[in-house]
């Protein structure tokens, strides 16, 4: 039974991956990647990684892919179908490179001396991969990685806001930098004035 589910999920994952690369419209690429990620979550379940599978569905399929869809809709990726490659020679070279990479990875994996790879995996205890077990590990053995990940998420959120914010009046020479933002923020962020938000309309205050 596990074999059937494995092959179904693996075929779904591979089809999703090929569709992501080969479909012309970015919108369909995103939908195909959603199919790929769901199949991958099924594979994670087969590998007894329940929490990782749930996080995959919630974080990737639920949040990241919706973000992708919004950006594709905003940028309007469907309007001009992007051609796969300008030069056909480059396409063949890429396919050749991908094939060589797969051959090398397969040789590396199958030729390794790890004896555990040839069987179904070593013994697993009850509760392997459950949320409670993962949570215990994250808060004991991997506490540093957990905290660093939270800081990284914070930095990425601030960076995304700074990158994607609306820049009006960028055409004159005064480009807004992060330093300007901090300076103007410390000086007159709270006064506001007639300038809407501090970031948006005027940039750094005129001196």
């Amino acid at each position: 039974m596990a074999e059937v589910f494995f092959f179904l999920a693996a075929i779904g994952a591979l089809a999703g991956a090929i569709g992501t690369v080969a479909l012309r419209s970015p919108f369909y690429s995103v939908l195909s990647l959603v199919c790929h990620l769901l199949s991958l979550a099924a594979l994670f379940l087969l590998l007894r990684a329940e929490f990782v599978a749930a996080a995959q569905v919630i974080v990737y399929v639920g949040a990241v892919m919706v973000l992708y869809l919004f950006v594709v809709a905003y940028v309007g990726g469907g309007a001009d179908p992007i051609s796969t490659a300008g030069r056909p020679g480059l396409r063949w070279a890429s396919a050749l490179f991908a094939g060589a990479l797969f051959a090398e990875l397969s040789i590396a994996v199958l030729g390794t001396g790890l004896s555990a790879l040839g069987e179904e995996g070593s013994g697993w205890f009850a509760g392997f991969g459950t949320p409670s077990e993962i949570g215990r590990l994250l808060l004991t053995d991997f506490l540093l990685a957990f905290e660093v990940a939270s800081i990284l998420l914070l930095v990425a959120a601030v960076g995304a806001v700074i990158l994607a914010r609306r820049r009006t009046g960028l055409d004159d020479a005064r480009e807004i930098s992060v330093g300007d933002l901090l300076r103007s923020g410390s000086r007159d962020a709270l006064t506001g004035g007639d300038a809407g938000t501090m970031i948006e309309v005027e940039g750094p205050p005129r001196r």
Binding site: A10, V30, L43, F51, G77, S94, L110, L153, I162, L163
Partner: protein, 99 residues
Amino acid sequence: MNVEWYLIVSALVFSIGAGGILVRRNPLVILLCLELMLNAGNLALVAFARAHGNEDGQIFALIVMVVAACEVAVGLGLIVAIYRRRLPIDVDELRELQG
């Protein structure tokens, strides 16, 4: 199922993603192909965690998912900034940094 099968699937998905990054020119699709490669790495990590019978690989996969989410946020912010400046969404056209 043997763990080897999962690793073969992971290698296939990884090489498909690598080929896609080389072939496609839309930065959105290139980000999607990056996601493919990261997920192939995740699958290999979880498969190794199963092979060795401890959960460290699953924690590693979770951290990789966090880093991938950060990369997506920053990458999509860049694409939106490119779009706002009326530049073409095409990595072959955006070559000012080449000097």
